[in-house]
Every structure is written in C-alpha cells, then in structure tokens.
C-alpha cells in the first residue's frame, strides 16, 4: 500500500457514504504517529459516526495491510453508540480479536475519534494491556493535539508573513513615490512609471493616469499595462470617470463592469478601481486600476491607490506653489537686471550674453548640469551692483578717472550685498563678488588668485571680458570675435583660469557667434559711438575697464 496521505482521506469510509474528510495536516500527523506505534505492536486509526449509528472507519495506511480485513469484519454490524459512550472520554472496548481505546475527537477531525487497536490479550495480561493502552492513548492524544496546534500556529505565521510582505511592498512603494517626486519633474511621466510598479504590487492587469484635467494638451487618459482599449473608448471612459469622481470625490470601485454605467468597456475590462487626485476641493486627475488578477478590488486596494493619489495631490500642490514662488523671485531678479540695463543702455543684453557664454564654457568644461544652470543665473545677475554706481560714471564716454574707476569697482560689492539676502540666489554671491578677480591676483575687490577665486567667479570673469571685448562701448567699437579669442588665449594664466580658457577656446567660433548674436543689442546712438577702434595690442586693458 502506498504510503501517501491521499490514501487516508480517500479511505476514510466504512459506512455507505463518507461525509468525512480529514485535513492534510491531521493526516500527516496521524500517519507519522501510526508508523511509530506500529513498531510497538499497536495500530492507530480513526472512527466516526457514518450516520444511522453505523461506524465509519479509517486505519492509517501504514497498518492497513494487517488489520484492514480483520477490522472490517469485526466492525460489521457494531453500533456506533455501543462503543462511543461519551464524546469526551477515553473508552476501552473489545471487538472480536481486537482491544480498542477510542479517544476524544481532535479539533480538526470533523467528529472522527482516534482509535488505538491491538490484538486482544486475555486475563492478567489483558488487564495490563488495557492499562498500558490507556496510558499510550493518553500520550498519543496529547501529542496529536500538540502537533496540530503547532501546525496551526506555523500556518498562521506564514499567512501573517504573507500579509506583512504585502504591506512591505506597499510601504516601500509609497516611500519610493514620495522620494521620487521632485518639484522639477514631470508628474504625469513619473506617475506612469510608477504605475508599472503598482501593477505588480497590487496585482492588476493595467493602470491609467489622468492629470491636470482641463490643462490644454495634458488632460489625456493614458493607460499602461496589458489593457488595450480603442481610442474613442479611452476618451469616453476618461470623461465618464472624471464626471463621476468630480461628483463623488471618493474612490470608485466597480467589480462588475457589465452591470455598471461603464458597460461599454466590458469587452476589454471586467473590474475597475478609480481614485481622485485632489488639490483641496479641486479634482486634478485620477488614477485607475483595471482588472485585479484573480480577485475583486477590496478596500485595501482602494486605500493603497488613494494614498498614492493623495501624495500626488500634495505633490502637485507643492509643485504649483514652488513654481509660483520661483516665478515671483525670477520676475523680481529680471526686473533688477532690467533696471541695470536701463541705467546703462550701452551694456544692454550684456548680462544675458554673459549668462549664455558662461554656461557654454561650464558645459564645455563638463561641469555638472545643475551647476551649469546656476552659472547661467549668476551671469544674469553678475552686474546688478551697477544699480548703485552713478550714471555719469556708467555712461561716461572715454576713459574713467582714478576716482571714477574706484566708484565703478564698487559694483561687485554692491551686487553681493543686494543678493546676499535672497535665499534663492545666495549661492551666487561669491561669483558676483569676485568676478573681477584676476588669476594672477591683480584683480579686485580682494586680490584673490588662482583657485582661491571661486569657480563661478572665474567662469563669469572669462565670459564677462569676452563679451565686453566683442561689444560696442562708449569708448570703443566691438572687436572681432577672432581677435577677442586671441586675447583670451594671450591672457590665459594671468587674467584667466588657464583650464577654463582652454575650455572656452575649444568652443567653435560659429557657436560663440550664434550665442552672442542671439541676444538683441540696443542700437547705440551715433553721438556716443567710439571715436576710433582700439588696436589689438592695447586691448588687454579693456576687460579691466569694461566692468
């Protein structure tokens, strides 16, 4: 006889129809115990009431070979009530050639009583036998109860671990979500990527995202995953979901789409869960799950999706506030730059060009992208201090006196003071303050040299001087780009950081020409045109003056 648990369950029948099935854990325990008892000359089985006072019997398969036929014969015609006197007691009895101890039923045995059996012994030996078997049955019963409790406990641990594992997935997903959302990111793109993760954690077949409802060009309903809907259905579904969510403002769970108002998607989708993305009372969008695999959508599913939607709502709100604040600050800074340009019409467009050129050099020098953007900002602001320099000095045609030059030099410190208290640009202050330092230490205001000069300032210095040379000034005409480049090369290591100068010279001339001509220059009035071109030999003094 094959030693396999399936045999026990299938053999659990003596009466006409078996209605009893033992669970697999119990079978395993019974079988193991029976095998051990067999070596002690005893058999273990289970009996139950098959109805009509008939006995239903199942001997463990490990022992059926010997006892089966005998037991069959012995039990025929025996009434259930004649051997089981009470459910709760250990009962001994004799049946033909067998001595039995019937034990109380086990919790998971559906009314089946474990039975210990041994070949009947008589007289004194029989008395001993009865006593020994009762003791043994007590031990066997206690062991079975204990094992089943352990089995139940480990099954419970397993099921809790499974649930806990799912919670881990969800928590980690939400962490991932909140960590990955940064304000300068496209929220919709990000959410779509996220949906791929959610699909696996939530075990759904597809997901859809709608964001920025009503915003032109970005209110489409995009579906990812294994759900293919025709375009017109997607559009209609998007509108309908929006309408329902706008009305209800809570999660919408539809487990039977065929009988819902979304019946028209039933050829493609059977279940749907949609949650609103809200910003206060305003519906910003929706996140939708389609077809949970092998199950209906539950409140746990809607909770998970809602927490994602809530985070998205908060994120969108922050992104909105951030962008408002950013444009406010940027607007103010641009006004400031314009104010300077208005004061000094001859350098109009200069800040813009320095910003573009400095960024180009930074990119060429392979500095980090985020730093390159700060370089651009610093370029725009590098001359804001000129707002504190008298117009007579700024607009003076011809050479400045020593005193005027001192006044001009003040613009770097004035600029640093103005920007120091604006949090959004405080990191640019060293660049603004030191953009007139020279690499050889002969610049101003602090006569810093080499790498003592902040990198930002060294970049600005290069871009500033180049643009000054290639622009028309009150005191001279613009130099050709090629001449200005030669000047940069000539002053590399004295005025300029040689490495940055090399980076600059590596930028093709056409690229530089396009950059500086992309910024409009105000026409210079005829009366203020420089009287004569300055020769290339003397032009190295220009950058110092052309502040």
């Amino acid at each position: 006889m094959a030693d396999h648990p399936d045999n026990f369950a299938s053999k659990a029948s003596y009466g006409t129809d078996s209605k009893t099935e033992l669970d697999a854990d119990l079978c395993r325990e019974l079988e193991q115990t029976a095998r051990q008892l067999r070596t002690a000359g005893a058999w273990l089985g289970v009996i139950g009431n098959a109805g009509n006072d008939q006995i239903e019997i199942d001997w463990r398969s490990a022992v059926v070979d010997l006892i089966n036929q005998q037991a069959d014969d012995e039990f025929k015609g025996v009434r259930w009530s004649s051997i089981v006197t009470t459910e709760r007691l250990f009962t001994t009895c004799q049946l033909g050639l067998l001595r039995l101890v019937v034990m109380p039923p086990l919790e998971r045995s559906s009314g089946m009583h474990p039975v210990l059996a041994a070949p009947l012994q008589h007289e004194t030996a029989g008395v001993h036998q009865e006593r020994d078997m009762l003791v043994l049955a007590g031990l066997v019963h206690a062991r079975l109860v204990e094992s089943l409790r352990n089995v139940a406990l480990s099954a419970e641990v397993e099921s809790l671990s499974m649930q806990l594992g799912n919670s881990y997935e969800e928590v980690s997903l939400i962490y991932h979500l909140s960590g990955g959302m940064t304000v300068n990111q496209q929220p919709k793109r990000y959410l779509q990527d996220l949906c791929l993760e959610v699909m696996q954690v939530a075990n759904v077949r597809g997901m859809g995202v709608m964001l920025q409802l009503g915003a032109p060009g970005d209110d489409s309903f995009e579906i990812s995953g294994d759900i293919k809907l025709p375009g017109h259905i997607v559009a209609r579904l998007g509108l309908d979901i929006t309408r329902v969510l706008r009305e209800k403002q809570v999660a919408m769970v539809i487990n039977q789409i065929r009988t819902s108002e979304f019946e028209y998607v039933s050829p493609f989708v059977t279940r749907m869960l949609a949650v609103p993305v809200m910003r206060q009372d305003l519906l910003l969008g929706a996140i939708v799950s389609f077809d949970k695999i092998g199950d209906e959508f539950s409140t746990a599913d809607s909770k998970l999706l809602l927490s994602i939607a809530n985070q998205t709502g908060v994120f969108l709100e922050n992104a909105g506030l951030f962008s408002d604040l950013n444009s406010l600050v940027m607007g103010l800074l641009h006004s400031l730059t314009s104010a300077v340009d208005a004061k000094d019409a001859y350098t109009c467009g200069h800040s813009q060009r320095v910003a573009l050129l400095a960024r180009q050099i930074a990119v060429q020098a392979q500095l980090p992208a985020s730093f390159c953007e700060r370089v651009y900002m610093a370029g725009l602001l590098h001359d804001v201090g000129k707002i504190g320099v008298p117009e007579t000095v700024l607009q003076k045609p011809g050479k400045l006196t020593a005193e005027e030059f001192e006044q001009m030099k003040d613009h770097v410190e004035i600029g640093a003071k103005i920007l120091r208290d604006v949090k959004q640009v405080e990191d640019l202050v060293p660049g603004v303050r030191h953009h007139h330092e020279r690499f050889d230490g002969r610049g101003y205001p602090d006569r810093l040299s080499g790498v003592q000069i902040p990198l930002l300032a060294r970049l600005l210095c290069l871009a500033d001087c180049f643009d000054a040379m290639t622009s028309n000034r009150t005191y001279r005409k613009a130099l050709p780009i090629e001449v200005a480049r030669m000047e940069i090369q000539r002053c590399s290591g004295t005025q300029f950081d040689p490495e940055l100068a090399d980076s600059f010279l590596a930028i093709p001339v056409e690229v530089i020409r396009d950059t500086i001509t992309s910024v409009g220059e105000m026409p210079i009035p005829e009366t203020l045109r420089a009287p004569a071109a300055i020769s290339a030999e003397t032009s190295n003094i220009v950058p110092l003056l052309a502040a």
Binding site: L164, G165, E169, S172
Partner: protein, 128 residues
Amino acid sequence: MSDTAQKTVLIADDESHILNVVSLKLKNAGFRVLCARDGNEALEMALAEKPDLLITDYHMPGLNGLEVASRLRQSETCRNIPAILLSARGYNLNEADVRESGIRMQISKPFSPRNLLGLVNEALGIAA
C-alpha cells in the same frame, strides 16, 4: 524553479518579522533558507553551512552586518559568498566601510520583498 532548488540563502536579522517575510518569499521562490537572529549566530551558521548568499541586517546584537561580512571575507572557504546588506532608510553608512566589508548590494528598510528577490537572483546570477 529547478535552477534555484539547490541554492541556500542565509538571512540574519534580529527582527523576527523580517526573517519571516524574507524567508517565506525566498522559500516560495524555491530557495533553501537558513535564519540567524544575531551577528554571531550568522557567522557561525555561514561558516558551518557555506550558504550561496548572505542577506544581513546592519543593526544586530553582537556583530553588525558589516562585521559579519568582513569576517566571512577572512575565511578561506566563505570569502566568495556574496552579501546583501539591509539597513534602515536614512541611516548613512560610510561607503568605504561598506565596500571594505565586501558588501556588493544594499537595500534599505522598508524594502519591497519583490525587489529583494530580484537582487537575490541577480547576486546568484539567476535569470529572473
């Protein structure tokens, strides 16, 4: 699952819920799983059983996760066992210490068991 049937993974963590979740996930994926509840036990079990992979928490009684990994590095027979470190999110470990100990992969708690299984397969060179 046949290619993972022979692989043994040792998990060390003093939090039993982590042990339960991770071992269930790995057992279901066909791995043989051993569990240790502190650093010393982890080291003993690793030296005795020579698992194919170690997953260890950083904070444990006795030896911490990096110490367990670097002790294994010093053993002739266990020096090539790859190790994955579990650490608390936001707890910044010194990169150099981590590299020094031979830890190749890190995952921070709360982690996704699914991602961890992916890392395990990657560490053992099993196509997912």
